[in-house]
């Protein structure tokens, strides 16, 4: 079996996982109108990921930079899906729109710099952007942990528990991505592309599908949130905040 075959197989596994997740979350979205906003976000996260996996399988957005393969769709997935995760966490914690927006911007910067770093053939630019991304990652983590406002404390305790669980999972798993990035051919090249794809796929499944299922299992927690809370936080009613 060739390297490409393995990689494609991994992509398929990832796609399958994402599809299963999407199906489960879509079902929840349809059966639980109360927490539609949350379920919609979950569907968005895994749905986008699944779409990007399809792109990757199809070879759309595949580049070869400095001898290494770069999947633009992978970054697209991250750039598009991770803000949804941030929004999800922000809504769960009851953060203000401005706060969530700031976190989303930081997240997009982190992901965007990663993309630039990976597509750049110049090693210096690669590491400069990687450094920028890493630096931007610090306030993102800070904003999701220590910098949280008292809004979280006002939440019912099961919601707080769920938030902390998802937040911890997200942050720790996300921390693996730059490590992988460094070890992968995009960085030092210690691990092979197929191993890189496998690990990314595994991390993706945990950070998105695992994330979603943990959230779904704690649906009781979501029931404790005011019905229109999430929608309002998203800004459908601007006069509110």
């Amino acid at each position: 079996m060739t390297t490409v075959d393995y990689v494609t197989a991994y992509y398929f596994v990832g796609l399958l996982g994402m599809l299963i997740g999407t199906a489960a979350f879509a079902r929840a979205f349809l059966t639980d109108p109360r927490n539609r906003t949350y379920h919609a976000l979950l569907v968005g996260i895994t749905g986008l990921a699944a779409l990007m996996y399809v792109f990757m399988i199809a070879g759309i957005g595949r580049l070869t930079v400095d001898g290494a393969t770069v999947q633009i769709a992978q970054y697209g997935q991250w750039i598009l899906a991770t803000p949804l995760i941030v929004i999800y966490l922000g809504l769960l914690a009851g953060l203000s729109r401005r706060y969530i927006a700031t976190l989303v911007v930081l997240d997009v910067i982190v992901m965007g710099t990663g993309l630039v770093a990976s597509v750049s053939a110049d090693t210096t630019i690669t590491w400069v952007f990687f450094a920028i991304g890493s630096v931007a990652y610090i306030p993102l983590i800070y904003g999701l942990t220590i910098g949280l406002t008292d809004a979280v404390a006002a939440r019912p305790s099961p919601v707080i528990g769920l938030f902390r669980k998802l937040r911890n999972l997200t942050i720790i798993i996300w921390t693996f991505y730059p490590i992988l990035w460094i070890l992968a051919p995009t960085g030092l090249g210690i691990i092979t592309t197929e191993m890189e794809v496998l690990l990314y796929m595994y991390a993706d499944l945990i950070a998105k599908v695992g994330f979603g299922f943990i959230a779904l299992r704690s649906q009781a927690s979501l029931e404790q949130l005011p019905k229109l809370d999430a929608v309002r936080a998203l800004g459908t009613n601007p006069s509110d905040r």
């Binding site: 942990t145 979280v152 404390a153 669980k165 210690i190 691990i191 945990i206 404790q224």
Partner: protein, 432 residues
């Protein structure tokens, strides 16, 4: 996200920290074993391409293990830690008295059991608190009841103190002790009422008695005045008697004087009688002499002798008559003496009587004075009795008004009757 750390017991690590330590240890162990195996394997491979592939595999394996550990840590460990902490928070909220903490759980594992145990503990605690609260409310109600009853008793007692003796407390209290107190109050009020009625009756008696006394003293006054008048009359009579007696005395004195004069006359008669007797004696002697002489003369003398005899006989008769008169005089004298003695005795008796009458008079004077005194005293008694009667009358009127209040008053109104106020002022005055 700040986590309350206050519940951490003693030293040592928190559950999550220990979990992280354990998983880190596991990760380290995997890493060390992986590195050792990698070094061992890589040293036997000479092909760089294979070496690179093996390196990639080892690193991938270690990373997979690490990611898996994180997954375990978050899904199981973190979950456990968070669940425990949440339960602890809820327990603390229960501790703070927040009984509506939601402990419902869909979990069926040990945490579900723990949450259910906490919930049932909370429920039991709540039940006990409710019981205590109910008890407290019951006690409060009871207290309120006691207060109300006490207030009612106080009002009734105040009314009784104000003079409305017909007031009675309601003894339908649920509390035994209060009921007993209420009955005692009622008994006291009843006794008081009876006593008041008694006093009213006694007062009337007293009033009647006082009137009787007043009447008696009036009579007494009249009697004593009569006594004084009678004494005065007696004194005047005595005075008259004394005067009469004085006259009797002076008359007796005159009688005595006359008797003494009589005696002197009798003495003179006696002297005259002695003279007659001497004359008679001398006549006798003369007769005797004449007879002798006649005898010498013979026959002429014989006529003379008869005359001389006659004369001697006359003299004898005269002597006898004088003697008889003397004897009668003596008898008369004795009789006069007796009469004088009698008269003197009478005089002495009159004197004595006069003295006695004087004494009687002074006694009558004393009697008059005493009667005056009695009169004065009786007058004082009369005044005192009048005053007393007035006082008694007042008291009787007050008691009567009291009784009227009793009968007039409706027992339930708590206001003070104006007559009671009047009574109060009256009694205040009567006390003064």
């Amino acid at each position: 996200m700040s986590v309350r750390n206050s519940a951490t017991q003693g030293g040592g690590f928190r559950f999550s920290q220990r979990l992280v330590l354990a998983l880190s240890g596991a990760g380290l162990a995997i890493g060390v074993v992986g590195v050792i195996e990698y070094v061992r394997v890589i040293s036997e491979i000479s092909d760089p391409a294979v070496q690179s592939a093996v390196t990639s595999s080892f690193v991938g394996l270690i990373l997979t293990a690490a990611i898996s550990l994180v997954l375990v840590a978050v899904t199981v460990g973190n979950n456990t830690a968070i669940t425990l902490e949440l339960l602890a928070q809820k327990a603390r909220r229960i501790e703070d008295g927040e009984m509506n903490v939601d402990l419902s759980t869909s979990r069926t594992d040990e945490f579900g059991t723990l949450a259910n145990s906490l919930a049932s503990m909370r429920d039991s605690l709540e039940e006990r608190i409710e019981t205590i609260e109910a008890n407290r409310q019951e006690i409060e109600q009871r207290n309120e009841l006691i207060e109300q009853t006490a207030e009612h008793y106080r009002e009734v007692l105040q009314a009784i103190t104000s003079g409305d003796l017909s007031q009675r407390v309601q003894t339908d209290s649920e509390i035994e002790a209060l009921r007993e107190i209420g009955e005692a109050i009622n008994l006291t009020a009843e006794t008081l009422e009876e006593a008041t009625q008694n006093i009213a009756v006694q007062m009337e008696h007293l009033s009647a008695n006082a009137e009787e006394v007043a009447a008696s003293t009036e009579e007494l006054t009249e009697t004593s005045e009569q006594a004084a008048a009678v004494g005065q009359q007696g004194r005047e009579a005595a005075q008259g008697a004394i005067e009469e007696m004085n006259e009797v005395e002076s008359e007796t004195d005159a009688v005595v004087g006359r008797i003494e004069g009589l005696e002197a006359e009798m003495d003179e008669i006696n002297d005259t009688l002695r003279l007659i007797a001497q004359i008679a004696q001398k006549t006798n002697i003369l007769a005797v002499n004449a007879r002798i002489e006649s005898s010498r003369g013979g026959e002429s003398g014989e006529g003379y002798s008869v005359v001389a005899e006659e004369i001697r006989e006359l003299a004898e008769e005269t002597k006898d008559a004088a003697e008889e008169v003397e004897q009668r005089l003596t008898t008369l004298r004795e009789q006069i003496d007796e009469a004088g003695t009698d008269v003197r005795t009478s005089q002495q008796r009159v004197e004595h009587a006069s003295h006695t009458v004087e004494q009687a008079m002074s006694s009558l004077e004393e009697i008059a004075m005493l009667a005056d005194n009695v009169d004065n005293n009786v007058k004082s008694i009369g005044e005192a009795t009048d005053e007393q009667a007035q006082s008694v009358q007042q008291v009787a009127e007050q008691v009567d008004s009291l009784m009227e209040i009793d009968s007039d008053r409706q027992p339930t109104d708590g206001e003070i009757d104006p007559t009671v106020l009047e009574f109060e002022t009256q009694s205040g005055e009567s006390i003064q």
